[in-house]
Symmetry: C2
Subunit: 447 residues, 2 copies
Amino acid sequence: MKNLNSSLPGSVVAAQGFLASGVFCDLKRLGTGKGSDKGRKPDLALIVSEVPCTVAGLFTTNQVCAAPVKVCRPRVAAGVAQAVVVNSGNANACTGRRGLADAEAMAACAAGHLHLPPEHVLVASTGRIGVPLPMENVREGIRRAAGRLGNAPEHAAEAAEAILTSDTHPKEVAVEFKVKGRRVRLGGMAKGAGMIQPGMSATGGRPAAGWHATMLAFLTTDAVIAAEPLQAALERAVARSFNRITVDGDMSTNDTVLLLANGLAGNPTLTPRRSPRAGANSGFEAFQAALDFVCLELARMIVRDGEGVTRLVTIRVSGAQTDADAEWAALAVANSPLVKTSWCGGDPNWGRIMAALGYSRARVVEEQVDLGYSPPGGRRVLWSLRRGQPTRATFKSLCAAVAAKEFDLHIRLNLGKGVAIRYAADLTEAYVDFNKGDVSNPAALGG
Amino acid sequence: MKNLNSSLPGSVVAAQGFLASGVFCDLKRLGTGKGSDKGRKPDLALIVSEVPCTVAGLFTTNQVCAAPVKVCRPRVAAGVAQAVVVNSGNANACTGRRGLADAEAMAACAAGHLHLPPEHVLVASTGRIGVPLPMENVREGIRRAAGRLGNAPEHAAEAAEAILTSDTHPKEVAVEFKVKGRRVRLGGMAKGAGMIQPGMSATGGRPAAGWHATMLAFLTTDAVIAAEPLQAALERAVARSFNRITVDGDMSTNDTVLLLANGLAGNPTLTPRRSPRAGANSGFEAFQAALDFVCLELARMIVRDGEGVTRLVTIRVSGAQTDADAEWAALAVANSPLVKTSWCGGDPNWGRIMAALGYSRARVVEEQVDLGYSPPGGRRVLWSLRRGQPTRATFKSLCAAVAAKEFDLHIRLNLGKGVAIRYAADLTEAYVDFNKGDVSNPAALGG
């Protein structure tokens, strides 16, 4: 991407004026949390701005939503925040009134240590559902996290580590771009792994086609931008990234994306152009492009690191009667257990893809369907089916196309102009093994 | 069930005047099929009535549907048939015009050997998608099957074996009941295993909530009943049985249920009662009860013998705002990979069930939901959640409830009077292993 330096370290502390930390406070094992962090995975993170920020956020549309989501929605709508406190190991979901009080207390505790108004602190949780937060540990964790805040990449890395659950590695990105000569930075961290098919909105109203992780993403920027355009930019970016991924089709009770903008870059205020004349190179567009890039990078990292995942398949549907039809077609293929297991085996099984298209809610005419494969983002497509009939592509060449760890699946319905993209994963024995749980160890059973 | 002898042998030949056979003609390996049947699994079945029958049928609502489905729909609508020819190993789906001609030729070939009008012969296929039928083998198989027809239970067993794909054992049932003193019999055989979530209708129009197997079921009866009430009775029975099962949520291109009634029992013609006064013990109601029983028995056998399945879970949703809501709630839970893997592990994980309910299309209020377990059909429910909160049931007792190979999951939404039942399966490593295929052996890759 031109005008975009995408190899910046530091993720959430890359932008000016942001601090972060991560600590271990034993939220899974319900121990004391007062011991040393050494050798124990951190499970509580803090992200703090030196000055108040405008804020944007999107949350799960699951009707059963976690206490931190309920606490954050009105705070994000108010448009101002300065810190985020996040824990892993416990989702604080399905925990009733106590859960709500705990989420508020978690924010208030952080606010106390940081000398902020409690309503300027946001909160997020991920982990087991239905177990009350061990608040003594949480409070001790927040106290220590507040004492360790810093703006070095290691501080961001600590925080990025602390929000993980079944993820195998942290997910961090940061970029830098120019707005009227001023250097603006945007960075973020995310976690995913299982229960991943986000369908997030600001209010809880369902997005058009997403109906089914806990995925969390925290983004920070030093751009000068008001809350309203910030929210619009985040909604656009999430619609093209996090809301387009699926690992297992299960939508979490806790999905949350938060974006804080502290304005320390000192750029002219970013506003969306009102007319096409305003020019394509406005600062807002550069910001949107940077945000789109960061969200898509993090979203794809989540799919790649999904539970048991060995393949990232980008499903590109075109020629659907409507965009909604294209989304339904892509979603049916992305979530078909038979298609997903065929990817796991490196099997270019088009019959299963055709069956999934046929039972999707999209209009499909068998004799019109083209199916093919390309490397990620590739324009040269190896077509497997044309107008419903096998091409002369050899089985060997098709196997080679789907043997890759990442490939694009092109589906042309040839019925209209509807398009959709979905980032999907395969289904492996490792996913089943991980999620079947261990009933001999109730504390290990995830939410 | 009173007035119902359900331990009859012979399935499709239990009723008077029906004959069956099964032969091996090497449809998978595309060999010659002319060798001995010994040691090789049969793959072609014939079911024939000595006299013409009224007929009823339901077919997949997948928009991509197999050639035999296209051939059968108008023949079933015409109301008369006398034979069914079925092959396994090849689905004759996504095979274009050639596939349609092959399905017609398959019926015509059987008609020739049986001296019947071709339009009185129905046809069904299951197996790999997208490969033309090896017609030489099919013709040879039909010739030999026509020469082996018989009405002993062994003949039915041969046919029931021939229609299997990844099933581990044949599925057969037969019952006998009395109508005004006359003995009436009804029997059937079925196959399932993978790509199982039927949503069948007579015309291809979608049923209300089923949107996502190849499952095949063939039913025969000697009852005297016209085609129209026969179709009505079959639609009711399928709505309560086959259309309520899910193994993997994938709906096949080939799902077919056929019911032939040859009238040889000589009972007074069965007609649905027009008014409540006609009495509850009419012959039609006895017939419907028998048909409901046979379809549900076969449907549950399909789930138990699904690919890799170790558990049959009957999901009973009540108190939904509408029946449609109840269906959506049941379906979301039945198809959630995280819920299904928890069953595989014998883990009574209610958080995953709540998350699935929350993202379903049904209205759900967290604080209203009751969840519990009972033995199959049991009335004493061990409640795990009441009004969204964990009960005092111990983890050990809940684990014991879901350790059973078959149990009922009771979900009360407490929002209205909508109810639904769904027969679901767990998701195991064996399912993934089976379906990931073996690309070193293209012929073994299933459809």
